[in-house]
C-alpha cells in the first residue's frame, strides 16, 4: 500500500496509514527524496502514529530518509511514535539517533517552523 505524500507550504507530510512492507518503505524513501528536490521542500514529516511496531529495517529506512532529505536541503521529523513502540525500540537498542522527533503532526510542524526561523544561523 503506497503512502500518500502531501504538500503543506514547504513541508512534505508522509502519513503512514497501515503496516508497511519493506518494499513500501523503500518506495517511500525514493519518492520523498525525489519530491524534496522537485518541490523545493524545506521540511519532511513522517507520521507513524498508526504503526504499532517499528523494527530495525523500518528504523534504518527512516534514518535513510532523514539523511537523504538533509543532503537535498530538508529537515526530517518523525512524529507520532506511540509509547509502546518507543519502549520496544529502546529495548532493541534502536534510537533514531540524529533524527528529530515530535509527539504528533502539530508538534512536528511547530518544530520545523521554529528551526527554519531560528535555526538558519545556529544549527541549520
Amino acid at each position: 500500500m503506497p503512502v500518500p505524500i502531501l504538500k503543506q507550504g514547504d513541508v512534505l507530510i508522509a502519513s503512514i496509514q497501515a503496516a508497511l512492507t519493506d518494499h513500501d518503505l523503500l518506495t517511500l524513501r525514493d519518492e520523498l527524496a525525489d519530491r524534496v528536490g522537485r518541490l523545493r521542500a524545506h521540511g519532511v514529516i513522517v507520521d507513524v502514529t498508526a504503526l504499532d511496531v517499528l523494527d530495525s529495517f523500518a528504523t534504518r529506512t527512516l534514518l535513510g530518509i532523514a539523511y537523504t532529505a538533509r543532503l537535498r536541503g530538508a529537515e526530517t521529523v518523525v512524529v507520532g511514535i506511540q509509547p509502546e513502540v518507543a519502549f520496544a525500540m529502546v529495548q532493541l537498542g534502536l534510537s533514531l539517533e540524529g533524527v528529530a522527533t515530535a509527539l504528533d503532526l502539530e508538534e512536528g510542524l511547530e518544530l520545523l517552523r521554529a528551526r527554519s526561523q531560528g535555526g538558519r544561523d545556529h544549527a541549520g
Binding site: 509509547p83 518507543a86 525500540m89 529502546v90 522527533t101 515530535a102 509527539l103 508538534e107
Partner: protein, 318 residues
C-alpha cells in the same frame, strides 16, 4: 468449587511445586520403598481410628487461643475436619503424587484462610502423631521394634505433609508482603506536571529492571497525555547508580526522545558522579544539570518561559 481448584493449581505453579520438586521433597524426608510397604502395613489400623485421630487433632486446637480463627468458625471447621480425615485415609494409601500434594495444599489454604498459627498447627500435628503412634504400638505389642519402625515410616510422610502445609502458610503470609511491595513500587514512580508541557519525574530508591520498566512506561504515557516537550528527571533519591541502572536511565531518556520530549537529568550527587566516572559509564548523550532547581530553570528557558519576580503579594490576613 471450580474457582478453588483453579486457585490451587495456580498456587502449585506459583510455589513451583512440580513433579521433580515432589520427588525432592520425598528425598528430604528420607522416604524409601521400604517405608511405603511398612506404611501399607499400618493401613487397617489407621483407617480404623481415623475419626478418633481427627478428633484428637481438633481437640488439641480447641484448647489453644491461637487457633481461635479456625475453631470458632463452624463452616471452616467442618471442612477442615472432613479434609483432615480424608488426609489420614490418603496418608496410608502409600501413593504420594501430584494429586496427593494438591489435596494437602487445599488443607493448607484452609488453615491460612482461618489464620491458624503455625506453632499451634505443629502442636496439633504432634498430638495427632502421638495418638496414631499409640494405636499402632498397641497393635504391635508383641514386636515393638517392628511397630516403632512402621510408625517412623508413617512419620516421614507426616513430615512431608507438614512441609507442604507450612510452605502454603508461609507463602500465603508472604503474599501480603509481595502485594505491598508492588503497591509501594507503583506509588513511588509519580510523573508530575509542573508547567504546561513540562513534567517532573522524581526517582527515589533502588532501580531494578522491573521498576525501570514501570518508570519508563508511566513516563511515556504521561508524555502523550500531557503533550510534554520537556522532562526533568531528578535522581537525588537514587543512592547508587551502577552500569545497569545507568543503562536503564539511558533507555528511558531515549524512549522519551522518540516521543519528542527532551529529558534533563538532575541531582547526580558527587558520589554517584565519581562512581560513574570510575566505572567508565558515559552519560554524555544526556543533558545533565546539577540540581533540581537548575534543571527546572533550564527546562523553562528552553520552553520559552521567563520567570519574573514581582513585589510579593500582600499577606491575606493581617
Amino acid at each position: 468449587m471450580a474457582d478453588r481448584q483453579v486457585a490451587e493449581r495456580n498456587l502449585m505453579a506459583e510455589m513451583q511445586i512440580t513433579d521433580a520438586n515432589i520427588e525432592r521433597r520425598k528425598k528430604m524426608v528420607g522416604l524409601t520403598a521400604a517405608d511405603l510397604s511398612r506404611i501399607s502395613g499400618l493401613k487397617e489400623i489407621v483407617l480404623a481410628h481415623v475419626d478418633e485421630s481427627t478428633a484428637t487433632f481438633f481437640e488439641f486446637l480447641a484448647g489453644l487461643e491461637e487457633a481461635k480463627g479456625l475453631v470458632s468458625k463452624r463452616d471452616l471447621m467442618e471442612r477442615a475436619r472432613q479434609l483432615k480425615s480424608e488426609h489420614l485415609a490418603a496418608m496410608v494409601q502409600a501413593h504420594y503424587d501430584r494429586h496427593y500434594v494438591e489435596q494437602r495444599i487445599v488443607l493448607g489454604l484452609l488453615y491460612s484462610e482461618a489464620g491458624l498459627d503455625t506453632r499451634a498447627f505443629l502442636g496439633a500435628c504432634h498430638a495427632l502423631l502421638k495418638n496414631t503412634g499409640m494405636t499402632s504400638m498397641k497393635h504391635f505389642e508383641r514386636s515393638p521394634l517392628e511397630g516403632f519402625e512402621s510408625f517412623m515410616s508413617l512419620k516421614k510422610i507426616a513430615f512431608f505433609d507438614i512441609g507442604v502445609i507450612m510452605d502454603v502458610l508461609v507463602f500465603e503470609r508472604e503474599r501480603v508482603i509481595r502485594q505491598q511491595q508492588e503497591a509501594i513500587r507503583e506509588l513511588s514512580t509519580p510523573v508530575l506536571q509542573i508547567r504546561d508541557r513540562l513534567l517532573l519525574l522524581p526517582i527515589i530508591g533502588v532501580i531494578d529492571t522491573n521498576r525501570a520498566r514501570l518508570i519508563t512506561e508511566s513516563l511515556l504515557r504521561a508524555i502523550r497525555d500531557n503533550r510534554a516537550k520537556m522532562v526533568v528527571m531528578d535522581v537525588t533519591g537514587v543512592a547508587s547508580i551502577d552500569s545497569r541502572v545507568a543503562n536503564h536511565l539511558l533507555q528511558t531518556v531515549s524512549a522519551a526522545r522518540l516521543m519528542g520530549a527532551l529529558v534533563i537529568v538532575t541531582g547526580v550527587s558527587s558520589e554517584v558522579a565519581q562512581s560513574l566516572v570510575a566505572l567508565g559509564i558515559e552519560l554524555t548523550k544526556v543533558n545533565t544539570v546539577g540540581d533540581l532547581q537548575g534543571g527546572v530553570e533550564e527546562a523553562e528557558r528552553l520552553l520559552g518561559y521567563r520567570v519574573v519576580q514581582t513585589p510579593p503579594a500582600a499577606a491575606q490576613s493581617s
